[in-house]
């Protein structure tokens, strides 16, 4: 189904079924059927075949980077009898992103089933589910769902009477955006400060406790049972051809009906704003759209025509899909205030290991605060862009890039807002 027919789309990740979060209800609607199908016929559904099915489906990671999920799974080395891990990423802390929480509350079992299928495909011994500490209520919901899955024999030793065993552990974070970065997440899980690791080695070679590990986002796993149940061709037929499947679009900001929507990938941004979210509050004009979380470059409201929520279309338009957490800002928004707040976030969340990031995020925030207060000069705008160049691609993890991109593109695309706030420079002639 294409995004053009979004009005008749029936959600599958957050289906409109009462009490779907309860294991009995989930089972009654075919839940855990994908897992059963695989375990019943393991000569047909070998781990390689499951991995290939996921690869062929075109499922790409929903955590921000959009890497092909099955391909990532295929990077895991051959089992050597030792422990192997999945770290499921439920850190969800990128401002503007609020979709994985919907899965925890309304559909935890499709995540659990998807992660177990992933565990089967990669011969995993333990799945750690890392959830940001602020989500305490939702951590409890996940724990309950995991307990229920154990009770029913979907987790633990000899799952459904088969030879396959896997454990699942829910782990709470404690307030650190950086722990969403995969190597930081692993450090945190090991009981340390969440400092990102230098790559290579990649997690598949040397992950948790030095063992092969795969990290995927919560929503990514929630897609997997549907792929197993209906096949990769079916899945490929949903949404954009190069970014298949349904997406959870988190829409926030100045719209009449903000919230999390599930539609095929590749939705027109204008359909999401004016259709799904029922337009801009007070009938105002759109000034800017941040398509996928605070790190994705803002688009101008007058450049949205024909832009779709898939990686190709957004790249062409000069941004990224990121997490699909979309924020709409109306014509009254001051982009200087906006950008200062975004920079404040990245400065606050930099782990401080790399000088360009630690110092750069600080300078960005300081300079933007100066401009916000009316003390900036035109040269400060150039300084901002210069700072970005010194940060991009020079650090251990991508936080520095994530901090630089919004600055670079907000300053260049909304320059009039910044110029209106800075002092006219007076050149004294000597």
């Amino acid at each position: 189904m294409s995004a053009i027919d979004w009005k008749s789309y029936t959600p599958i990740l957050i289906p409109n079924i009462k009490d779907y979060h309860k294991i009995d209800v989930y089972e009654k609607h075919g839940g855990y059927g994908g897992l059963k199908k695989i375990l019943k016929d393991q000569t047909e559904f070998t781990p390689e075949k499951v991995t290939n099915t996921v690869k062929d489906s075109g499922l790409r990671g929903r955590g921000g980077a959009g890497f092909n999920t099955g391909l990532k799974w295929s990077f895991m080395p051959k089992p050597d009898g030792g422990p192997r891990y999945i770290a499921a990423n439920g850190d969800e802390s990128e401002p503007g992103t609020f979709k994985d929480r919907v899965i925890f509350e309304y559909n935890p079992h499709s995540f659990i089933e998807g992660a177990i299928i992933g565990a089967y495909a990669m011969s995993i011994t333990t799945v750690y589910v890392y959830i940001r500490g602020e989500y305490r209520s939702w951590i409890n919901m996940m724990q309950k769902a995991v307990d229920d899955a154990y009770e029913k024999g979907y987790l633990g030793k000899n799952i459904l009477g088969s030879e396959f065993s896997v454990d699942m552990v829910v782990h709470s974070g404690a307030g650190a955006y950086i722990c969403g970065e995969e190597s930081s997440l692993m450090e945190s899980l090991e009981g340390k400060r969440g400092y990102p690791r230098v790559k290579p080695p990649f997690p598949a070679q040397k992950g948790l406790w030095g063992r092969p590990t795969t990290i995927n986002n919560i929503e990514t796993f929630a897609n997997v049972p549907h792929i197993i149940n209906n096949g990769s061709e079916w899945y490929k037929g949903i949404g954009a051809s190069t970014h298949a499947g349904p997406l959870l679009y988190g829409i926030s900001g100045h719209v009449n009906r903000p919230g999390v929507y599930e539609y095929p990938s590749g939705m027109l941004i204008t359909d999401l704003i004016h259709g799904a979210a029922q337009g801009v509050r007070g009938g105002k004009k759109v000034k800017a759209v941040i398509p996928g979380g605070s790190s994705t470059p803002p688009l101008r409201g007058d450049s949205l025509e024909g832009v779709r929520m898939d990686s190709d279309s957004l790249r062409e338009a000069g941004s990224m899909l990121g997490t699909g957490g979309m924020c709409i800002l109306d014509e009254d928004t001051d982009m200087v205030d906006f950008l200062w707040r975004v920079s404040h976030f990245y400065h606050h969340e930099s782990c401080g290991q790399c000088t360009p990031c630690r110092e750069g995020t600080g300078w960005l925030e300081k300079t933007l605060l100066k401009i916000k207060r009316g003390d900036g000069t035109v040269r400060d705008l150039d300084l901002l862009l210069d700072l970005c160049s010194q940060m991009e691609g020079r650090t251990i993890c991508a936080l520095a890039d994530a901090a630089a991109w919004p600055v670079r593109y907000t300053v260049t695309r909304f320059r009039e807002d910044f110029e209106a706030r800075v002092k006219k420079t007076v050149y004294a002639l000597a």
């Binding site: 990128e94 503007g96 782990h171 404690a174 009981g191 903000p258 919230g259 605070s294 906006f338 976030f345």
Partner: protein, 181 residues
């Protein structure tokens, strides 16, 4: 100085937590959470208890506790009101909400009321961007769609030790009769 200790039952629970990982070190975060739940904070003496219990160095536990913002390294109010001011909430009036709250309680963000009841903090995105302005109470309940009246109600409730009820995430798609525009 208060003597911080875990009970026998708590120590048994900690053993169960340790068993979920290949070695005891990863238990440091869950046990810091347990300690904060019990004592209300993880001041240095509490960190030492955690270190002793897990056989880790106090320096390691301090390193972890200080890295994560949700651990209270100093005493806070009984109720900590975390108002999200990240950009989506900012766009929806979060700073007005924050300032209103500051006025109602007579303290600024980062401060605690004299009676030790309330602290206010301005925090980063809590993953509730579509329900702004919003806040979280003492690392626990989320309160969405804050208005002046709702703030009053929440504060009055907390003064009587009543936490607001859990609000399910509002579902926006296909849950109500379609409102055609």
């Amino acid at each position: 100085m208060q003597n911080y200790e875990f009970t026998k039952e708590e120590l048994a629970k900690i053993d169960k937590i340790i068993a979920k990982y290949p070695n005891p070190q990863p238990a440091v975060m869950p046990v810091l959470w347990m300690a904060q739940e019990k004592f209300g904070h993880v001041e240095p003496e509490v960190q030492q208890l955690v270190a002793k219990t897990l056989d880790l160095t106090p320096a390691h536990v301090y390193g972890v506790a200080s890295f994560y913002t949700q651990y209270y390294k100093e005493k806070k109010g009984k109720y900590v009101l975390d108002v999200c001011t990240s950009f989506s909430c900012q766009a929806c009036g979060a700073y007005d909400t924050l300032h209103e709250l500051e006025e109602k309680l007579g303290i600024k963000a980062g401060e605690t009321t004299e009676d030790g009841m309330f602290s206010i903090q301005s925090v980063e995105c809590l993953g509730a961007c579509g329900y702004a302005p919003m806040m979280q109470i003492t690392n626990d309940v989320y309160v969405n769609h804050l208005t002046s009246e709702k703030l009053d109600k929440v504060i009055e409730g907390l003064k009587q030790d009543k936490l607001p009820e859990f609000e399910p995430i509002p579902l926006v798609q296909n849950r109500e009769p379609a409102e055609e525009k």
